[in-house]
């Protein structure tokens, strides 16, 4: 038999013992919505950049509106998570250079104006009916194609920052071996892009765009699989706590939900369906994009929960 190691503790702090579970549903929901909005900003920014907004049914007109709604829902979830809510304004009386969360708070402040500028390029009918002045602003912006392009670029850059930050927030936590991989931001950014592409694919009125994003989504899903492989290679060739963290997903407590929901239902099955669809073997349906979006949400739940579960305890041994 191997050497035995038993640790008994008298500590039983709520949500800390026996395993860390401080962050509940609010954080994965926030990370998912933030990541999806990030992807949408990149996609709509790209449409503006490539002058697609001149097409009458370009989805770049509804994406930023949906983004504002989803991001606000996400921020509300984050707010629900705060346990000292009355002091939330403290986020905005300081900037803490070393804190990803502080970066995130300020990035979010920049994201809203960028989304609003995006909306103003062609405000929806129900908006201009209520506030006719919006048409004037819109006209002014559209008089300067240069400005439209720059709004597109700004949306793309801020989208990347937002998407990356949702991963960096976790990956800077050296305390949780599963999160402590520098590729986590790539995973979350690609997964956010994938969910956003699925969303636009699902709702785009323009056939060309819908097809384009189904193809793009296939690319994102393949990249996501690749990033997963890289993350596991990194963890498995690292220290013991990191190896154990990887095993949590690969064959441990989280393996069933990881393989079935994240990899199977969230990536492989929709990828398979969408590959057939873009090659015109079958018709596009809502199934694949819905699976991608649900898979993206479950991914955040699994990473947040399993990450908190992963720990350094074995290193107590001396």
């Amino acid at each position: 038999m191997n050497e035995l190691l038993e640790l008994t503790t008298t500590r039983h702090n709520p949500h800390v013992d026996p395993v860390m579970a401080m962050w509940e549903w609010q954080i994965p929901v926030y990370l998912f919505l933030g990541g999806m909005v990030a992807g949408m900003m990149i996609i709509s920014g790209y449409f503006l950049f490539t002058n697609r907004h001149k097409e009458s049914n370009c989805s770049c007109f509804f994406i930023p509106i949906v983004s504002v709604v989803l991001l606000s829902l996400g921020m509300f979830a984050l707010f629900l998570d705060l346990s000292h809510k009355l002091y939330v304004w403290r986020l905005y009386t300081t900037f803490q250079f070393t804190s990803p969360m502080s970066w995130g708070a300020w990035i979010l402040i920049l994201v809203y104006p960028a989304l609003i500028a995006n909306i103003l390029i062609r405000p929806a009918k129900w908006m201009t009916e209520k506030v006719p002045k919006l048409l004037e602003y819109s006209k002014k912006i559209n008089e300067h194609p240069f400005l439209v392009k720059n709004i597109g670029i700004t949306n793309m850059i801020l989208g990347m920052m937002l998407g990356a930050y949702t991963g960096v927030l976790l990956s800077t936590m050296g305390s949780r071996p599963l999160w402590n991989t520098s590729l986590l931001w790539v995973l979350f950014l690609v997964s956010g892009l994938s969910a956003a592409a699925a969303f636009v694919h699902l709702f785009a009125k323009n056939k060309y765009e819908s097809e384009l994003l189904a193809k793009a989504d296939n690319g994102f899903l393949i990249i996501e699989l690749f990033v997963f492989v890289m993350i596991f290679l990194g963890l498995l060739s690292s220290a013991k706590p990191h190896i154990e963290a990887a095993q949590l997903l690969l064959n441990g407590a989280y393996a069933p939900v990881f393989w079935v929901f994240v990899i199977g239902i969230g990536i492989i099955i929709p990828l398979f369906i969408q590959l057939l669809a873009v090659n015109h073997k079958i018709k596009h349906t809502a199934i694949a994009p819905i699976l991608v979006i649900v898979g993206g949400l479950i991914l955040r739940f699994v990473i947040v929960s399993a990450g908190q579960y992963s720990h350094w305890f074995n290193a107590h041994f001396h």
Partner: protein, 179 residues
């Protein structure tokens, strides 16, 4: 600049929990929550088994992931002795610091803010020992300035063998366990 730390003699600690109770009453810690606790660790292979009992708390580390992740500056390093503290009415309860501590030494106080050991800074600044050190019936805990070569803690670290917890986590803890 002084750096406060603790040296705990695991050969004397019997796990009586007096330090735990002292902390709870001194710092008014609500029922069900702990700023300090007892760990019993056994390792080895029969018949060669070793056991260590030790009292644990926030290590007031020199490298502080809990401070660097805090978005509001509520978690900070105090001017006196490098003690790691949380300013309650600056903390928003985001719990990032609780996640960031590899020792799980923090918790969310029922009032909302992140909480943990303060080294009883309110006592230390009056020249007293932290409550846990003061109460220990076996005198197994020592508190003092690690930077001062003549302090009791520095001398003990020079004369005895010791370990710290989770060296690999890179936090440079300031609580030392004599073995």
């Amino acid at each position: 600049m002084p750096r406060f730390g603790m040296v705990i003699d695991t050969r004397k600690c019997v796990g009586c929990q007096d330090c735990v109770i002292a902390c709870k009453t001194e710092n008014n810690i609500p029922e069900g929550y702990n700023r300090d606790w007892i760990i019993t660790e056994s390792h080895g292979k029969f018949p060669d088994i070793q056991m260590e009992i030790r009292t644990e708390r926030c290590n007031h580390c020199s490298e502080t992931p809990c401070v660097s992740c805090c978005p509001t500056g509520a978690s900070h390093i105090h001017d006196v002795g490098g003690v790691v503290l949380v300013t309650h009415d600056v903390c928003i309860g985001c719990k990032a610091c609780i996640e960031a501590c590899p020792y799980d030494a923090r918790f969310a106080h029922p009032d909302g803010y992140a909480d943990k050991c303060t080294f009883c800074i309110h006592r230390v600044e009056k020249g007293e020992n932290p409550a846990c050190v003061e109460v220990c019936p076996t005198y197994c805990m020592y508190f003092g300035d690690l930077e001062d070569p003549n302090s009791e803690v520095s001398k003990l670290l020079k004369s005895r063998k010791w370990h710290v917890n989770l060296t690999d986590a890179g936090t440079q803890p300031n609580i030392f366990y004599l073995v």
